[in-house]
Symmetry: C2
Subunit: 294 residues, 2 copies
């Protein structure tokens, strides 16, 4: 292979360590431990594994977790009510709803029950628009992780042509918006795109977020392109045919060890950030009330 | 010229007539007249003209209007408070904040003071995400008008390559999202894009939304391309060099008479829709309360 690897593992470990330090500092200064609530609906083993992994990483970083597990037959109303309770609970700073949820649930309604200030996974409509408009808010963790990786490897984004393959609300769409906010020229491609390979061949940066194993082939790439594989398919296989792509690309993320660890790192970082912001808001309110009393 | 004109005037007149009929029906059935509140800050003559035009068209369609005019020195807080009052006022169904607002104002904060159910101009973060995700909500009027025009002229969108020039939050960005929702492949280009002409030459559909007179030239176009000129610059000039482009394009919007009238038509249509929805919600609440009383 000729491509250089973009390794997420190390960078993610640094981010998690730094989040852990901030968490520790918050506990020392205020007695508040950041807390991430995870919500899992049903008994899909892969989803259960993801949630457990996120809880374990949280614990290692000194972030508390609250685990909500609901039966597969949960209704939208029940899930919305449960998430609403977490949104209102001052001891919970961040909320992660593991997706996909069972088919009978209106996933969008469930996401929207997450208070924007606790949307540390970046799945709400408010979060999406904030990413698109450069307003304050939490980013979707995988797209946000991709941006950090590109920055860490000094990939020039301004004026670069980024082709995003896939347009899901939590991956493709926000990834494109974050790249656009970094002044890249962004093309959204998807299942209805004609001549996909030809379009990908014009890309300086390719983000594969389509959920199909080995979908992007080596001869789709411009020599020297930066290839970000956000796919994670059965058998630890990405959306990019790694062996072929690595012969052509300039930089490429491995699967696993590329985008995946960055996603979790960003989740933890944003949970700590949420806890800091909420704690600050509470102490400002208290100070304000004390002012009024004196 | 070889291109066929995409005339907005006629289609817009039909839409306004239909909105007028719905407004009349609402008055007859419920006594409620749809009402659009316009908010103008400062004394920019062009903005004042736009607002007056929108009020006149509203009146012709049987839509009432409420006019709020604020001094150029208005602060963000004052404007937000004023818009908040309109958001809470049950006699107001739609709110239009004429932009641009004076530089000292945080325009985003002002837009966000518009209740999503009254955001008939489609400028809120919620509205943008709704367009991107295909959720219920009002569309930005110019992008929404462009889509209607493309549909009226039977332009195939699925799989077509649409290149959007410009990325403003109320024009370029939502136009791209609406085209993407219609299964087009969408490329966002802007001031930092390299080789813009080459990219535009790959487009089946070009949306020019950059605000620079005669910016898009004829030799940037693929023969037969559909050219949407959303620009409106001094002297009634669009963003596209019309004479050159009309020699190459298959379909092209004139300026004026193309996108412009569609924008206002959609504003009126959405105002009536908002009035219908709000009136329906009120009567459902009343029915519910009567149920409880009986």
């Amino acid at each position: 292979m000729s491509a250089k690897l973009m390794v997420g593992t190390e960078l993610a470990a640094e981010m998690v360590a730094s989040a852990g330090e901030r968490a520790k500092k918050l506990v020392e200064e205020t007695g508040v431990q950041p807390c991430l609530a995870t919500v899992l609906v049903g008994d899909d083993p892969a989803s259960a594994t993801y949630v457990r992994m996120k809880q374990n990483r949280s614990k290692k970083a000194g972030i508390g977790s609250r685990s909500v597990v609901l039966p597969a037959a949960t209704t939208t109303e029940e899930l919305v009510a449960e998430i609403g309770k977490l949104s209102a609970d001052p001891a919970v700073h961040g909320i992660l709803l593991q997706h996909p949820v069972p088919a009978q649930i209106d996933e969008r309604a469930a996401f929207e029950a997450i208070a924007p200030g606790k949307d540390v996974d970046g799945v709400t409509m408010h979060g999406f628009a904030a990413m698109a408009f450069g307003e304050p808010g939490f980013v979707s963790c995988t797209p946000g992780g991709i941006l950090r990786l590109l920055q860490a490897y000094d990939v020039p984004l301004e004026g670069a042509h980024a082709v995003v393959i896939g347009r899901s609300p939590i991956l493709g769409k926000p990834a494109g918006m974050l790249l656009l906010a970094s002044n890249a020229t962004v093309t959204y491609t998807h299942s209805k795109t004609r001549d996909l390979a030809d379009i990908v061949r014009t890309a300086d940066i390719v983000v594969a977020a389509v959920g199909r194993a080995n979908f992007v082939r080596g001869d789709w790439l411009k020599p020297g392109a930066v290839v970000i594989d956000a796919g994670y398919n059965e058998g630890n296989v990405g959306d990019v045919h790694f062996e072929e792509a690595a012969e052509v690309a300039g930089l490429i993320t491995p699967v696993p060890g590329g985008v995946g660890p960055m996603t979790i790192a960003l989740l933890l970082e944003q949970t700590v950030e949420a806890a800091e912001a909420q704690t600050r808001a509470v102490s400002e309110t208290v100070a304000h009330q004390l002012d009024h009393l004196s």
